[in-house]
Amino acid sequence: MNKTPCVAALLAAVTSVALIGSAHADTKSMRIAFSNNYAGNSWRQAMLKSYDIVTKKAVADGIVAAADVFTTADKEVPTQAAQIQNLILQGYNAIVINASSPDALNGAIKQATDAGIVVVSFDGIVTEPSAWRVVVDFKDYGKQEVVQLAKWVKGGNLLEIRGLAGTSIDDAIHSGIAEGVKEHPEFKIVNSVEGDWDQTTAQKAIATVLPSLPEIVGIVDQGGDGYGAAQAFAAAGRKEPTIIMGNRQDELEWWKEQKAKNGYTTWSASIAPGVSTLAFWVAQQILDGHKDIPHDLLVPYLSFDQDNFEAALATIPKGGVASHEYTLEEAKQAIANNLKH
């Protein structure tokens, strides 16, 4: 019962020592947990794999004592909330989290931070102010889609594929695309469908609207849906427009085939699943006494163009997605970039 204030006091003492002295708090004895709410798709699998590689090494090198991964069996909020409560009781020093909801978990997150636990969210972020957020600049990603498209497509009708409705990511990318279209009035978005970042959902949604659509020159989307879009056009017997890709192996493979066949040109970008490792380092750095790290960290997305996507494709496992694992140095650099502005 009285464990919580005790831990908090201890951690407060540790951090105050760290802030006073120039020497950093030692994270050697600290344990970081990863609370994950889903593992069933290629992105999440790559995320876990990257995390595993980096944290295993960190534990072996004695940087942290433990970095355990906990994945819930379903995508439900209550399950993850219960899991967080367990992690608090187990006395972890920090929790890295890919959250099932931006706000529904805030109660559990607040309990954790009140207990002195550092919480760093990424991808599925939490809005609780006491937690940290590692966010990709999704708005710029959306805008770049149109900017890139304008480089080799003169103009015309666009189809937009939206992500999971109600998420902050979907809103951000969508507003970025809208901004891009505003700057490039030669493009017009004639319809938008919901693809949920999923090939199957996107293909199905496009199949239903395609008969009613005029000629489409380009598809702006949110990643994971590009291959499905290509299949929907092929199934309807229509020529595939320029589809912005999302770093998935099947998308890039399809792009490569088309490029070889007819010089198909496009651009690909997405949030790298390895951003999980950045979140891990951020948690480690905060435990290390760097309390000045801003609570909202903006990190770049991973993008490929006509010239370098094939090299990247060779390194992605079949059915997987392009990733990038952060080293401690790169993480420090990413944090420093955020301190500048």
């Binding site: 593992a39 069933g40 798709n41 290629s42 999440r44 699998q45 069996a73 379903d74 939206r162 409705a165 109600g166 319809n191 938008s192 469908v193 919901e194 999923d198 090939q199 199957t200 293909q203 199905k204 949604a205 199949a207 239903t208 609207v209 395609l210 008969p211 009613s212 659509l213 291959y227 499905g228 299949q231 092929a234 199934a235 309807a236 099947d250 496992p317 079949k318 059915g319 997987g320």
Partner: protein
């Protein structure tokens, strides 16, 4: 003439077809007739999968109150991965892959029935907990990776004959077969009898447990086949490829005029309901409404159709 119309309207399946016609008309009025044929064609292609799962769910639900197969989505996801892995992208292994998906599905059916029969767990709980186990197997088996189908199999799932998907024709034949199975065989009649009153059915000498066992096996097998076909159509397996077919299969059964309390099944209505749901999505996507409005309208329209169909029956 009037009595014929009245007889037609008293059929529970008519409403689903009327609904499908109505939303299709609304969509083509919006586009001024543009793409009318394409919509039907896409509608048929997508309805195939919900009809297959609908048949599976219909047989299970007809067994009577409490019977439902909630493991279908997990079953479909695992079967899609199994089929694609066994096929390994090679056209010569298509039959083997389909067989493997079928075995995977039947295995899940056996597991479901054992949970229900041996451990006496209510079917809702049994199939739901089974689906967690299946999902875990699927994650460790497929590692969440998308495996592509062989070109021949992919082609087969999307090929069209004069605008009509071959798969839809095949599924119509299949559903006709299931209609015969339901209405003209001892097994089908047993399912209906058990759904009306399991005790009376048992007293009448019907092999109740054997029928229940076969029904869960059938549902599992159809889920397995559906998984393989989905992986072909959507050019790749994925563990959540079947997620939407839990709600879709139950909605199809209900909208199609099958009694939720069991004992009364309707195969014809499954196609009407399947087309209705896909064309409803087509209409809303064509209108370009936002996701929120789409969910609300879908919910309201489904309630409306059920009320309309149910209201007629009550008279």
């Amino acid at each position: 003439m009037n009595s014929l119309l009245r007889r037609l309207l008293s059929q529970p399946w008519v409403w689903s077809y009327l609904g499908a016609l109505l939303v299709w008309l609304a969509a083509i009025v919006f586009t001024h007739g543009y793409g009318a044929g394409g919509m039907i064609s896409a509608g048929l292609a997508l309805a195939v999968f919900s009809v297959i799962t609908g048949v599976a769910q219909m047989f299970v639900i007809t067994l009577g109150p409490g019977n439902v197969d909630l493991s279908l989505p997990a079953n479909i996801g695992l079967a899609s991965a199994v089929a694609m892995k066994v096929m390994g992208g090679s056209d010569s292994l298509i039959a083997l892959g389909l067989g493997a998906a079928l075995v995977s599905g039947i295995g899940i059916g056996v597991g479901n029935y054992l949970l229900i029969w041996l451990l006496r767990i209510p079917p809702i709980i049994a199939t739901l907990s089974a689906s967690f186990i299946i999902q875990s197997i699927g994650i460790s088996y497929g590692r969440g990776l998308q495996i592509k189908p062989p070109p021949g199999f992919a082609e087969f799932t999307t090929v069209q004959l004069a605008g009509v998907p071959l798969l839809a024709i095949g599924t119509v034949v299949l559903t006709l077969g299931f209609a015969v199975l339901l209405h003209r065989t001892i097994y089908g009649r047993s399912v209906l009898a058990i759904g009306q009153n399991p005790r009376a059915a048992w007293l009448a000498g019907i092999a109740v447990e054997r029928t229940r066992c076969f029904t869960y096996l059938l549902s599992g097998a159809l889920g397995g086949i559906c998984g393989a076909l989905l992986a072909g159509y959507f050019r790749g397996s994925s563990l959540d490829i079947g997620d939407e077919y839990l709600l879709a299969s139950i909605a199809l059964v209900v909208i199609g005029g099958t009694s939720v309390s069991g004992g009364k099944a309707n195969v014809t209505g499954l196609w009407g309901a399947g087309l209705f749901l896909v064309l409803l999505l087509t209409m809303l996507n064509t209108f370009g409404v936002s996701a929120g409005i789409r969910y609300v309208v879908t919910g309201l329209v489904i309630i409306g159709v059920i009320v309309a169909a149910g209201g007629e029956k009550a008279r």
